[in-house]
Symmetry: C2
Subunit: 306 residues, 2 copies
């Protein structure tokens, strides 16, 4: 049994367009890292929460909650000390809480050599994610498994890894703003008209078909969120302008990443992505919002032990 | 220019499970046939409506409405005489009104040699379908194009032909009952909770992924309609018992075909289909409902000129 394990989990775009709570995409280039070390007592102790604003109470930190859930399932009575290294912004809409949870779960699984398997690790990460943003798996699942994930159900867990068109790239634009997931969820409508529900379902189904059939244009046509996006626009100054700029610069589509404030655009090349990023930043600047952008590939590996 | 044309269009399962209005499957073995012949005047005249209960008023018969829509778009001033031959039951939930519309549109297109193309023919058939059951394309699109069709949008028309797993077969069970599409639509909820909308979207997306990835088990797990089916159960005596029997006999899934009363089950072999059909008929019989069943292949050809 190892003495210390470090695991990494990538960030992700949750709520991919119309896929509110059900479609998530792992994104390379930034993620969270969690190190666990056995203790002599039974406590879970956070030595480094990863960020001054993150709780050092292990019952409130997603990495610690997920690690504890794994150790409990593994019937391990021994405690661990935890160090988190945040590569993802807090309340950024890039799946940071999920990545920490996944890295915590995977590190604990490796430390205790329990091999719980993907479904159980997902369950443990979901337990953690639920404490900060509700029981939805569209960030934890891609963060663990990599790629583009359809979450058919969370009870029982049923996630499907979809093919990803090779040319697909993701532009992430992060305005200088924090938006708590809970606040962004509170504005969601509790009910929708049947017509709206069907239109949204048709669009998510089209995105799935576009991914499976390697049809980027179809993926783009389906990227049209009529439920969450309209409800959140007022929380996100500059978003509509940036979205218009993205479409104009040739993006396949553009929407809010997770609960925001990060915005993503899907593009079909790195060069196209750079143009889209530039135009989106210009639109944010014009709206008086500072922002940073990057063009990323899809992360196909998911969480790994380092 | 030909003097007379006959076109055939297959029946279809609309509302495939959670795919209310957006997923349809063309089914082989039964369909409607429409013959058109030029007239010397400008009238559209129905010589044979195809069934005593079908209207002989050309503004009320889907085949005639669709044919007239094609001729109008083709700027043809000449009229036609129309003979319909119904292979599909009336108000059966097997896409009969759509098949007649599609056959009428295709026959007119061939008669006038206009080659309007699939999108325009769909639009003409939709115009006809709208008069009897609302503007939805989940029957007309598979009836015209064949196969499994995702309707992303009807305005503008955007339909996607999905791959179909080779082993897929369809059991159609038709209880001795008529159910007008309009009546079956009136019971649908006008609004649904966000959670329900998302669950339905996840299931339809899973069905699409299952079809694209040749994963029949996934296709079956997604076949779970939580919006239309619960609302219509009370209109369909024996359905719940037949569905339970289908699942028990190994069907991938079972739901209402279109607006009913026909019920369909998806299976992974002809032999499996025969067992499922037998058990479903027994369940209907036990519930005091007479019914007939057949096991069909997917119709990949769609509408054809004969």
């Amino acid at each position: 049994m190892p003495y210390r394990v470090t695991a990494y989990a990538p960030g992700s775009v949750g709520n991919v367009g119309p896929g509110l709570d059900i479609l998530g995409l792992a994104v390379s280039g930034a993620g969270d890292e969690v190190t666990l070390e056995w203790r002599d007592d039974a406590a879970i102790v956070i030595a480094d929460a990863g960020h001054p604003e993150l709780p050092s109470d292990p019952s409130q930190h997603t990495a610690a909650i997920a690690a504890a859930a794994v150790l409990r399932r593994a019937r391990v009575a021994r405690g661990v000390t935890l160090w988190a290294r945040k590569g993802l912004p807090l309340s950024g809409g890039q799946g940071g809480s999920a990545a920490s949870a996944v890295a915590g779960a995977l590190a604990a699984d490796q430390l205790a050599q329990t091999n719980l398997g993907a479904a159980m690790l997902l369950e443990c990460a979901l337990e953690a994610e639920s404490t900060v943003s509700g029981r939805h798996a569209d960030n934890v699942a891609p963060s663990l498994l990599g790629g583009l994930i359809l979450v058919r159900s969370t009870a029982p867990i049923d996630v499907i890894r979809l093919p990803v068109p090779a040319a697909l790239r993701v532009v992430l634009v992060h305005p200088d703003q924090q938006l708590r997931t809970r606040d962004a969820r509170d504005v969601l409508p509790r009910a929708v008209s049947r017509d709206l529900a069907l239109a949204q379902a048709a669009n998510i189904a089209a995105m799935v078909a576009g991914a499976c059939l390697d049809d980027l244009a179809l993926l783009g046509r389906g990227l049209d969120d009529q439920i969450a996006e309209p409800a959140r626009v007022h929380l996100l100054p500059g978003f509509l302008e940036a979205k218009a700029a993205a479409r104009e610069a040739g993006a396949l589509g553009c929407s809010i990443s997770g609960a925001g404030p990060t915005v993503f655009a899907l593009v079909d090349s790195v060069a196209g992505g750079e143009l889209v990023a530039e135009r989106m930043l210009a639109a944010y600047a014009k709206a008086g919002v500072r922002a940073v952008a990057r063009v990323a590939a899809v992360d196909f590996e998911g969480a790994t032990v380092r």
